[in-house]
Symmetry: D2
Subunit: 383 residues, 4 copies
Amino acid sequence: MKLRLGMIGGGQGAFIGAVHRIAARIDGEYELVCGAFSSNPEKSQASGLLLGLPANRIYNSYTELIEKEKQLPENERVQVISIVTPNHVHFAPTKMALENGFHVVLDKPMTFSLAEAKELDKIVKATGKLFCLTHTYTGYPMVKEAKQLIKAGKLGAIRKVYVEYPQGWLSSFLEGDDNKQASWRTDPGKSGIAGAMGDIGTHAFNLAEYVTGLEVTKICADINIVVEGRKLDDDGAALLKFNNGASGVLTATQIAAGEENNVKIRVYGEKGGLEWHQSDANSLSVMYTDKPMEVWRTGGGYTSSFAQHNTRTPAGHPEGYLEAFANLYRNFALTVKAGIEGRTATPEELDFPGVKEGVRGMAFIENVIASGKSDKKWTEFSI
Amino acid sequence: MKLRLGMIGGGQGAFIGAVHRIAARIDGEYELVCGAFSSNPEKSQASGLLLGLPANRIYNSYTELIEKEKQLPENERVQVISIVTPNHVHFAPTKMALENGFHVVLDKPMTFSLAEAKELDKIVKATGKLFCLTHTYTGYPMVKEAKQLIKAGKLGAIRKVYVEYPQGWLSSFLEGDDNKQASWRTDPGKSGIAGAMGDIGTHAFNLAEYVTGLEVTKICADINIVVEGRKLDDDGAALLKFNNGASGVLTATQIAAGEENNVKIRVYGEKGGLEWHQSDANSLSVMYTDKPMEVWRTGGGYTSSFAQHNTRTPAGHPEGYLEAFANLYRNFALTVKAGIEGRTATPEELDFPGVKEGVRGMAFIENVIASGKSDKKWTEFSI
Amino acid sequence: MKLRLGMIGGGQGAFIGAVHRIAARIDGEYELVCGAFSSNPEKSQASGLLLGLPANRIYNSYTELIEKEKQLPENERVQVISIVTPNHVHFAPTKMALENGFHVVLDKPMTFSLAEAKELDKIVKATGKLFCLTHTYTGYPMVKEAKQLIKAGKLGAIRKVYVEYPQGWLSSFLEGDDNKQASWRTDPGKSGIAGAMGDIGTHAFNLAEYVTGLEVTKICADINIVVEGRKLDDDGAALLKFNNGASGVLTATQIAAGEENNVKIRVYGEKGGLEWHQSDANSLSVMYTDKPMEVWRTGGGYTSSFAQHNTRTPAGHPEGYLEAFANLYRNFALTVKAGIEGRTATPEELDFPGVKEGVRGMAFIENVIASGKSDKKWTEFSI
Amino acid sequence: MKLRLGMIGGGQGAFIGAVHRIAARIDGEYELVCGAFSSNPEKSQASGLLLGLPANRIYNSYTELIEKEKQLPENERVQVISIVTPNHVHFAPTKMALENGFHVVLDKPMTFSLAEAKELDKIVKATGKLFCLTHTYTGYPMVKEAKQLIKAGKLGAIRKVYVEYPQGWLSSFLEGDDNKQASWRTDPGKSGIAGAMGDIGTHAFNLAEYVTGLEVTKICADINIVVEGRKLDDDGAALLKFNNGASGVLTATQIAAGEENNVKIRVYGEKGGLEWHQSDANSLSVMYTDKPMEVWRTGGGYTSSFAQHNTRTPAGHPEGYLEAFANLYRNFALTVKAGIEGRTATPEELDFPGVKEGVRGMAFIENVIASGKSDKKWTEFSI
């Protein structure tokens, strides 16, 4: 049984919409049945037809999609709606979808503002519908393994966390040209109060909290607009304090010229440390004070149920970004199906980011930007 | 428009069938409409239902599939048939599918014997149907880039080729246990005259000829059965001569304990060299005698049309084995569609392995095994 | 002609003294002629005899060494004195050596306090003797290449600097055991006001300023004592501002369990970035926004005169930490000899750290510790 | 006490002589007291003076050196003679040195021909003098660790060995220019019957036998002259059989354009495998079929007495080629001193290559070249 999937946003020329569609296809758990791919009706139609949808399931707006789908017979109407619009169009369609009985997969960051995020949290809880926020990097098997190793106490109490997301693609004033991706991401009206911190800082923040199981309690940030003329931060670094007393450093930048997307995390505890980075995504280095470093690998027979559940191929056949993304979609589908089948989802199936991560991500944005403007060293992490 | 795909083999518990299905799904170019997933009818039914197929499109044998599908209306019947059975069941279904008007995607090696391969070559040509052989590794964007760089003369005339495929999974007598993958691959009745040389040696051979654009003309091989009780080679190495005078070394082993699947190729010409290996599949090292080594990357704006055509995400988001596999399916689909649309397929679309590669692969198997048994140093590569 | 070298400190059981001696030996520019290896006369004698020194050139104190050597004929007496004692015994012997006419090589950090450092600066200038501070990492050919590439404008104006020095050896309370290295480094009476920040933070700071040619102007630091019972910082991170407006992050820790000594620097400018780390010390990655990353290598024919001057072997024969250290000794020797020969030393010969770096290093220690204690975000870097 | 060292060959412009001198200096076990650095007396004098030798200990020929030194008082005369001349001037000075009571360190390959090697073997045994052949790569701590791990049975019985030495520096006809290194190495009158196979193939061969503890019994080689006009092989590959039934592949080439000197060995046994390569010389990867790969590191507290004995710095401070070379010199010195002191040298001290390795190396050259010319597949390894 495939879940019926609809999409809001992600028309021709969009980047992340296409990624969501591939992620949804990989494991065959979904069938795309409808979409409102653009606020421009012609573009929405063209995009939908290219995707092989029948014209009557291609809508001109998200409101139309939700209203019309709701009127379809239950065994025909969409079940899960993916929302892949820019940040300022996250809250309203998500709220409407949830309140009309649809499960939602939403691209990060969750909303335009923390206030919206907190509101959405209530709506998810009130409606009882399922919600997934696509923090892709937590979908990698070796990121999951890192979390499990720490949870099992392999490193002892955590003392230090370094997390970084270096990009270089905004090293020049791309938004001055006709670059769609650059334009909305650097536009305060579409992106929110943060640029790099919202776009990729939230990924780094989420990764740190996911892997360690800790929560950030204080932030001291240096937030910069490096490229002249830009309206939002394109670079930042933050000193962190965690709720167990550990400290950390988070960096996110879009002006590290020459860098691609090498997200990286390193965590150290009393007994050892670990390191994962996206450029070698199928390896997890685990190091000790008294024995050789180990390289744990996607597909290794010795890995945890969480890693194995999220792996498709034997060790040595690299699984990448699209598979990590697909893991979010697959686990969400399995959880939705568990509900339909009336069974309890397993911890492995439930292992996808949701509203809690979304609210904390938006709080990160607001706190890190506030800290960047403050003369005080430490800003309490408040929600 | 999605192409209608059928599958022969690949029932529950099979490895490569599932991989083919993911590969076919990733780009949304196919829709699975029917299958004969096992020679065991119950298993075939169960497998098909799990995949969401209607019962009437799940068949109990490949002959049934082909016969019944042929009777369906043209706009309903399967268009492309994937054949993912063990080697001894490659020829007959492929021949029948082609002769009944279907395009075929076939897992490697092409057939059980070279004689069958030459026969199939004729059938493909006679029927005019399209045929793709899934030599996955040539689907990687950086493997394609390597080919393009060499073709463009970046390295000068090629002098030396090293290609290797090290695995360790058959280090013990797995076929003694109930290991399905090990069992048929080490069974002369199902695999053919070669074990490791057929299973992975052909991949290495194909990779070498694809990347360099050269053809092997002589082989001197050392072929071994290392694990006691095994019936087919699990290890081998071959000295090679190419048609331009270059020499090479090919190694393929399944008893390199601890190795995963790190296929690797290195090619050296008069002016420089290059290296690619699957464990860092998105990088291609290009080295020179007089300037720094360069690391070319999947998604780099400077890459060729062939690499870019086979890339889905911006640089730094790793694409892996499943995407490489998907590139074969996608290019085959685009070529099939070009035919349907009456247009000429582009060189990028036509860039997938076919019968020529299949015949040469089977010739490699026969020649390398013959050389392994010979006391003469060099065995001419004959077809 | 070999320079006559004396050593203060570095008796049996010491770590860095032995390293200094190897560094001084590698290029054959020095001959060890005397030493006061320990404040314990017996230990000094035993150490000196093991090193093959005649008993009359082994002294019981640095004062004795300087006084007695001064009375020897000019062509016999020591010319360069290496001082490798703990921090609290840096200033006095260096001052005395300089004022008695000897050139000095001193281990870092320069002194016990910034006040002493400023005083030493004056003494060096007043005496006109030569002075080298052993910030080893700037001795690596590829670190020098990084500096030259930036100086030549290859990256454009510098925007971001990440520098880190992670160690794990002080993850437990080693100073509670009989660990000589741990004991003095964590003792405020011997090390000064800083632990990790003085021991390795100064290396990271020096590396950042050396490679970029910039100066730090502001610091915002998080300084921690992680291991219970420890008296000095064993972990820290600092946000940085540079005099051209660039920002940076410096981390130095001794509680990153499992880490060895992988000092690392990354610098990004308008046009590209570079990365160097000690674990692959003979490579320098240079990345661009629009073409493949390059890997520059020690020994490459395309490297600068600075890199080549500091390289002994053809590319691919790794030169390591001891050779980097030896480069400081060798360049210092060549500069001393230039003076003796009455010629002007070349820029390559003069390329070793001196009092300026020493004063800035001590200022770093005082400023970073002050910032660590401050509630204000930014502390001006004052000297 | 320093051993008194003399050198034959290695005058200005030579490469390996300078390396030998650095290696001899690093640990302070030797003092260079005399030399005959060139067959050109003026060059020999100039070279010796630059090295700080007194004129009366600089000789115009090796015969003069040996004769004159022998007449010096025992506590003054040279004790160890390093011979670093081209291959055709290995045998005679070594024989004369040994027969006149001096210990010898000789650069590889041992002699010009196997016949000479066998003769030298007898002379060493007859004179009872100590002899070291500088197969540098066995001096690396992690190569020693590999040997110890295999010896201890960590991998089980060895089944497969891959060893390679790729270089690119002879990709063009360098000997046509005024390149001293290229000229003698490609000259049959100076190098012997082999080019690449003698120069670097012997290193690969020695590395394989040292690490595995096995002996090659059969060879099947493809030997090539790739660059037009060259007189000796510049490329080759050989299939190998070992005395325990294991098989292997050895490649050595000097025309792999862009390659530096990345010697590499991989060994696989029943239970696991290991890999070492010079470009990451301080790491040894040890892989298993059922648990994560381990990365053993120079300086790790868990390493064997053999690795630790050959390590100078804490883990993470890379030791390189010169330290590996120095390990040969140091172990030889310790063994010489043990003799002087009348004590038995330890296994760690005795761990340097000698005549046995030299004879086998020369046999490798003769057998591999013979195999290259043979039409038979396998050539028995005969001495």
